[in-house]
């Protein structure tokens, strides 16, 4: 009774004078629950937030993936068990999307599996080259840093619309080409060129962000290491492979993880630019989930939830593999 009174008093004090009251409050709680359980008091709020905003939605998504109808509220949704997963996996051959009942899901999955590695390699490669260039003592370095970072600040929809104006049949690029005597090309009509431009545009739009991270990493490398290499007459390539890359590895790992996550999430630019076309050549998994769950009428929340869980599972496997290999590399 005494303890509860003390805690109550401390609670009142927290409201009236938080700074002075926190110590007796903690003291009161510690006396009540014991010192061993105190970490839970500090973890509690964050844990609650994680449960509420991260874990609970996952469980809700699992529930939705096993229910049918286009109604939103769980009470209105009948239980269908694994039927949504069966629908997604109803394939004669997983390597040939046209044999699958949900062919667009598999086309989107294959597209994503091609898009992500290409985009990540291009993004990291170009960001690294740009960062190295911007790290040198060149004239107008601040200006160029701004130029490369500028697209990051644009809305993805604006990026897509700008490039649509450039790439369309009567667009700027064809205007330039024809004025130079070349034939105009309908860039977004052919699957291969459309795919190329989706990679190009997403790299253009986001590379500034990764360049800045890598630039920070490059500037953290001590100058005297380079000076020592110079005194030893090491070639540029040797300096790059033996000094820059190894010392930049922690930053590259961060960039790699961020880049993969962003690449898998790619949606806005492509949705506005091509809508997933031509045909389904640039349709990625996130677009499939969006169209199935939100743009389609009637909306198939169950199928979209099942597809998103499969995407989540694939990402989880990928993350675990990546963690495994990065630990192995660090230990080795």
């Amino acid at each position: 009774m005494m303890r509860k009174g003390a805690i109550g008093g401390a609670a009142v004090a927290v409201i009236t004078s938080p700074a002075r009251a926190i110590e007796p409050l903690m003291y009161g709680i510690q006396r009540l629950i014991g010192i061993k359980k105190m970490p839970w008091v500090f973890l509690g709020p964050n844990l609650g937030a994680v449960l509420l905003f991260s874990l609970l939605p996952v469980f809700i998504n699992v529930f939705y993936s096993m229910t049918g109808s286009d109604r939103l509220f769980p009470v209105d949704r009948p239980w269908v068990g694994g039927r949504n997963y069966e629908t997604l996996f109803d394939c004669q051959s997983f390597l040939d999307p046209s044999t699958c009942s949900r062919d667009l899901f598999w086309r989107a999955l294959w597209n994503t599996m091609v898009f992500v590695p290409i985009q990540v390699i291009c993004m990291i490669g170009i960001s690294l080259i740009t960062a190295i260039c911007l790290n040198r003592n060149i004239r107008g370095r601040g200006f160029f840093r701004g130029v490369f970072f500028f697209p990051v600040m644009l809305s993805p929809v604006v990026v897509a619309l700008i490039w649509q104006w450039i790439l369309q049949r009567n667009g700027v690029l064809n205007g330039i080409l024809t004025s130079m005597g070349f034939d105009a090309v309908n860039w977004l009509v052919f699957p291969n060129t459309a795919f190329f431009w989706t990679v190009f545009i997403t790299v253009w739009a986001h590379m500034g962000f990764f360049t800045i991270i890598l630039l920070a990493g490059l500037q953290a490398i001590p100058r005297d290491v380079y000076e020592a290499a110079k005194m030893d007459s090491a070639s540029h390539w040797r300096v790059f492979t033996r000094i820059t890359l190894p010392l930049l590895r922690p930053m590259l790992l961060v960039v790699f993880i961020l880049c993969v996550i962003r690449s898998v999430q790619t949606f806005d630019e492509i949705y506005v630019l091509t809508g997933g076309g031509p045909g389904s050549a640039t349709m990625l998994l996130v677009q499939y989930i969006y169209e199935t769950g939100f743009a389609a009428q009637p909306r198939n929340f169950g199928l979209a939830a099942a597809a998103s869980l499969l995407l989540g599972a694939a990402l989880l496997i990928f993350t675990m593999l990546q963690l495994y290999f990065s630990r192995k590399t660090n230990n080795g």
Binding site: N186, S280, Q297
Partner: protein
């Protein structure tokens, strides 16, 4: 009409009574809340909105939309102190994609001008108590039925049709004249048009003979004129040979360059896309869009070239286009359905309706105004003539077109049509496989909805 007015007075009195009650509660609250200045601030913030009875209506910028409705709304607000109708201008894509999701979570605006008339029917509120039901029934019978969804026995008044729109083609007469080719007359088939426009394009160096919006609704005109049923009397999907033939012909026109790949070929999924600028820039001889673009054509083409709207091209089945249009509806979650009802009733009065129609240069959905005709003061003679052509298509429309327009799963079929036809154009599917996929997509959508 007297009943309506009596009802309206009773409603007004009830609203006034509720307002006075609210005022009394507010005064009491103020004396209690003086003890805490922070809580007082919160009260001040909420008290400001408690007295106002406001409804928000979403509309887009095109035709019968926010800009053309604004003067009528302003007048209504002035004539009805204590009520505020607010128009919120949103993109058409927001009405198509975001609005249904908000409605499903019982959120969103009080009303909106929607085009998926049957698909959203379960969210509409019955406005019968606040409108002149007999007047609405006689003026808008057909569209009211579309708004009732699957229930054939319903007598609910769920909204007021905004305009009647008609799919249709626009043709560049100057190009025909330059090429010395005769413009096909009424009764010409789709193939006649394809042939004639090909000749014109070849003679004048125009980029493309024909183009069509990337829209399942536009394609349905072609399909139904080829004899496709799409939906039967019982509301079941019909995938027949006529649909297959229409898709095959459509694909062939893209393959031989009669139609540009930019619209149907270059885009994926259910994305709606228009390239009307091709017609405005004289890059295509004939453009199949709809009556809602008339104002734009009139304004942007001006005297640059001669143009006219064309009669519905014929297929083996009929010479039909698709009816369309939107409706202003009120939603069940609205806190003030009475204001929505009163406003919609106000808007339906011929003088108000005529004002909006004249400004938007669109075809009326009201029986009286169709019969009497609407004067469009700002429109050119050419536009008036084009409007006449579009209106002339209404009696020719196939029953299948009306059935499809009111079908609850219309959008599921339209989305599947655009997606699958684009896949055929990009060699991802054959025509037969596309037809099978369309049937499968719609069946799955219907299953998901039930």
């Amino acid at each position: 009409m007297q009943n309506i007015l009596d009802r309206r007075h009773r409603k007004d009195a009830a609203i006034e009574g509720r307002s006075r009650g609210k005022e009394r509660e507010e005064v009491m609250s103020i004396s209690k809340l003086r003890m805490s200045s922070a809580a007082g601030l919160v009260f001040a913030a909420t008290a400001g909105t408690a007295g106002a009875q406001q409804v928000v209506i979403w509309c887009d910028v095109n035709g019968y939309g926010c800009p053309t409705l604004a003067p009528v709304v302003e007048r209504y607000n002035a004539e009805n102190p204590g009520q505020t109708v607010v128009l919120e201008q949103v993109a058409y894509q927001v009405l198509l994609e975001s609005l249904p999701v908000q409605l499903e979570s019982s959120d969103g605006p009080d009303g909106a001008i929607v085009t998926d008339l049957g698909g959203l029917s379960r969210y509409y509120v019955d406005l019968t108590d606040w409108v002149d039901a007999e007047f609405f029934e006689s003026e808008y019978g057909q569209t009211l039925q579309w708004l009732r969804g699957d229930d054939p026995d319903s007598t609910a008044i769920n909204g007021k049709p905004s305009t009647l729109t008609v799919n249709g083609g626009y043709v560049n007469l100057t190009l025909f004249e330059q090429a010395g080719v005769d413009v096909p007359e009424e009764g010409a088939t789709w193939e006649d048009w394809a042939e004639a426009t090909r000749q014109v394009a070849a003679a004048t160096g125009t980029d493309f003979p024909m183009a069509m919006d990337r829209s399942g609704h536009r394609f349905a005109s072609l399909a139904i004129s080829y004899g496709a049923e799409l939906v039967d009397e019982d509301g079941n999907l019909v995938v027949d040979d006529a649909l297959r033939d229409a898709i095959a012909q459509f694909v062939e026109w893209h393959r031989d360059g009669t139609m540009p790949m930019d619209l149907w070929g270059a885009v994926g999924g259910a994305t709606h896309r228009e390239l009307f600028t091709d017609f405005l820039n004289a890059d295509t001889v004939m453009y199949f869009g709809g009556s809602w673009a008339l104002n734009q054509v009139d304004r942007e083409v001006g005297d640059l070239f001669d143009w006219r709207a064309i009669d519905a091209p014929c297929g083996p089945g009929s010479c039909t286009v698709m009816p369309g249009g939107g409706a202003m509806v009120a939603f069940q979650h609205s806190a003030h359905p009475e204001i929505m009802g009163q406003f919609i009733n106000y808007l339906a009065q011929p003088e108000n309706l005529e004002e909006v129609l004249a400004a938007s240069v669109e075809i009326p959905a009201s029986a009286t105004l169709i019969e009497r005709g609407v004067t469009y003061p700002g429109a050119s003679d050419r536009t008036q003539e084009a409007l006449g052509t579009f209106i002339n298509q209404i009696p020719k429309m196939d029953d299948a077109a009306y059935r499809f327009q009111g079908w609850r799963y219309q959008r599921a079929l339209m989305n599947s049509l655009t997606t699958r036809i684009s896949q055929v154009l990009n060699n991802e599917l054959t025509v037969d496989a596309a037809v099978a996929r369309i049937e499968q997509d719609v069946t799955l959508a219907i299953e998901a909805a039930n």
